[in-house]
């Protein structure tokens, strides 16, 4: 497929590059892994297959061969050859068709997956683009107009002509994630981290207040703005390993939440860590929107993880059933018999 139009910073991402933090390599990977996994499942891909993460719009491409696509994540009102598609939808495409994604009304990042997955070289175990380091993805960089992407061999061929959809997790999993405040503030669950108690009374202000996601936020980290918080006395830390979700407080007192392209090491005092299963929601939070951190525990995290896995498992079964039925009608072998 050929990219006809793209904004800056749209990249090829899979679920991330693991095992190289100890040599300073960030994990990268989709900011909304649920959206990527669901898109891959709809297409019969391995969940780890690479897709395009679109975070600036419009994004337009032309398919140069027949295949299938899935578009998940933020609803970017996809249009295929002039025909609007529902959100969280997978369908067959033909060579020559043009797909356009436009700026979503809510959410921040959309995922465009193709049957087979995007075929770029695997570097250090992953196809994700590492913008810090200039490797992975397509030539280690963001996508540009005129780029051509190809799909790996394989992937499912049998999708209903009109497509197949999923109820988005925001709705399907609503019972397992905190509801937004009346004002629309996103509530994220977090555990206190190493230096939490050094913040004294400011720690309570950290949990109580709403923070705004500042314009200096990207895949590396979200900078929050609000009423600054400070430890009771300055903290000198030795550099240590970091994971996405860590909430650090630099001297100016406005927290930073590290995200998918997180630095692998740092030394600002850490007040909290967002639980991993809530990070996809933060990945979909827009610049200028508000969040609040809610004190949580591992039991809550594990319950949410199980709900997510059950939701994905449902998609897997439904998709397999539909494609098997179609394959049966066409007299071909269905998906469930060659599932990996």
């Amino acid at each position: 497929m050929e990219i006809l139009a793209t904004g800056p910073l749209n990249t090829v991402q899979d679920l991330g590059r693991f095992g190289y933090r100890n040599v300073g390599v960030t994990t990268s990977g989709a900011m909304d892994p649920l959206a990527l996994r669901a898109a891959n499942i709809l297409l019969g891909n391995a969940e780890t297959a690479a897709a395009v993460e679109v975070q600036t719009f419009p994004f337009r491409l032309r398919f140069d061969r027949d295949g299938a696509v899935a578009i998940t994540g933020a609803d970017c009102r996809p249009v295929l050859d002039g025909v609007p598609l529902p959100p969280w939808w997978a369908l067959p495409v033909r060579a020559g068709q043009v797909l356009e994604l436009t700026a979503p009304v809510s959410g921040a990042r959309s995922y465009l997956a193709v049957a087979g997955g995007i075929d770029v070289p695997v570097v250090l175990g992953s196809r994700s683009t590492a913008l810090r380091g200039d490797f992975g993805g397509l030539e280690g960089r963001a996508l540009q107009q005129g780029d051509r992407l190809v799909a790996c061999a394989g992937g499912v061929a049998d999708l209903p002509a009109t497509g197949l959809g999923v109820v988005p997790p925001e709705t399907a999993l609503a019972a397992h994630f905190p509801a937004r405040d009346e004002t629309g503030t996103l509530v994220l669950r977090a555990l206190p981290s190493g230096e939490h108690d050094l913040f004294g009374r400011d720690a309570e202000r950290f949990w109580a207040q709403e923070w705004k996601i500042s314009a200096q936020s990207n895949r590396t980290g979200y900078r929050l703005s609000g009423d600054p918080i400070h430890p009771d006395k300055p903290v000198e830390m030795r550099s240590h390993g970091l994971v996405p979700g860590v909430v650090q407080v630099p001297p100016a007192g406005e927290p930073i939440i590290q995200m998918s392209d997180a630095n692998t090491a740092g030394g600002y005092p850490k007040i909290a860590g967002v639980i991993e299963i809530d990070l996809w929601r933060l990945g979909q939070a827009r610049i200028g929107s508000r969040i609040r951190l809610q004190r949580s525990d591992v039991a809550t995290a594990i319950a949410a993880e199980r709900a997510v896995e059950a939701w994905l498992s449902d998609i897997r079964h439904t998709a397999a059933m539909v494609t098997d039925a179609l394959a049966g009608m066409a007299g071909r072998q269905g998906r469930s018999e060659h599932e990996d």
């Binding site: 095992g19 040599v23 630095n263 090491a265 860590g273 299963i277």
Partner: protein, 229 residues
């Protein structure tokens, strides 16, 4: 006055500080001084945990170790206890060590913070440079950017706090001091460490079998190739 030297007395009986970051990462911080014996125990701890089936990744830092589990543990208290015991049981270990020699062009345009280091240390530029290349450094850990080595062994006379306002576009290869650590930057970009020279060196190749030039335990010597004052 140099206020960065913070001598501390480490005793074998002191417990490590262990805390959680999010739902499945644990940070083990060695008590006591920022020194090689503490780091050698961190390496031993990493080795001891390597084979544990629930451990996904181990990331040594500066006298600390990030332990990332494969899954959120149902009983984090049990993990804390296990890590505390593992720390108590870990003795200092040697790591295989190679000597990496790095020729440096000191001063000039690429050593823009040399005057500030002179001011802070009260030493003339030639003395700062001499003290920088007189020492043999140990790679404590890699991190921050691909292949970046945190070097321990800096002469306390030239400790230099990180900048309050980072340089926006420090070139790759800049020879730097950050607090009591030394390093050579590996990416061009914002950097809060202090520049005193430049080295032409590739420390990371993502396509190589061993992508990083340095490994924890290696030693590094800077060779004064050129001094521009």
């Amino acid at each position: 006055m140099n206020t960065l030297a913070t001598p501390a007395i480490a005793t074998a009986t002191e417990a490590a500080k262990i805390s959680m970051i999010g739902s499945r990462a644990f940070l083990v911080e060695a008590p006591g001084a920022f020194d090689l014996p503490a780091q050698r125990r961190i390496w031993a701890l990493a080795q001891a945990l390597e084979a544990q089936p629930d451990v996904q990744e181990l990331v040594p830092g500066m006298t600390n170790l990030l332990v990332l589990l494969k899954a959120t543990p149902a009983d984090p208290q049990a993990v804390l206890t296990r890590l505390r015991d593992a720390w108590a049981a870990s003795a200092e270990m040697d790591r295989p060590s190679r000597l990496i020699e790095i020729p440096v062009h000191y001063g000039g345009e690429m050593g823009a913070d040399l005057p500030a280091i002179c001011d802070f240390s009260g030493l003339p530029a030639a003395e700062v440079i001499a003290r920088h290349h007189a020492r043999i450094y140990t790679v404590f850990a890699l991190g921050s950017a691909p292949g970046f080595g945190y070097l321990h062994g800096l002469d306390p006379a030239i400790f230099m706090p990180r900048k309050k306002v980072p340089s926006l576009n420090m070139p790759k290869g800049t020879v730097t001091i950050g607090g009591m650590q030394a390093g050579v930057s590996v990416l061009t970009g914002p950097n809060g460490w202090n520049a005193l020279g430049y080295a032409e060196i590739e420390v990371f190749d993502p396509h190589a079998a061993h992508p990083a030039l340095m490994a924890p335990g290696d030693t590094v010597r800077f060779l004064p190739e050129r001094i521009e004052l």
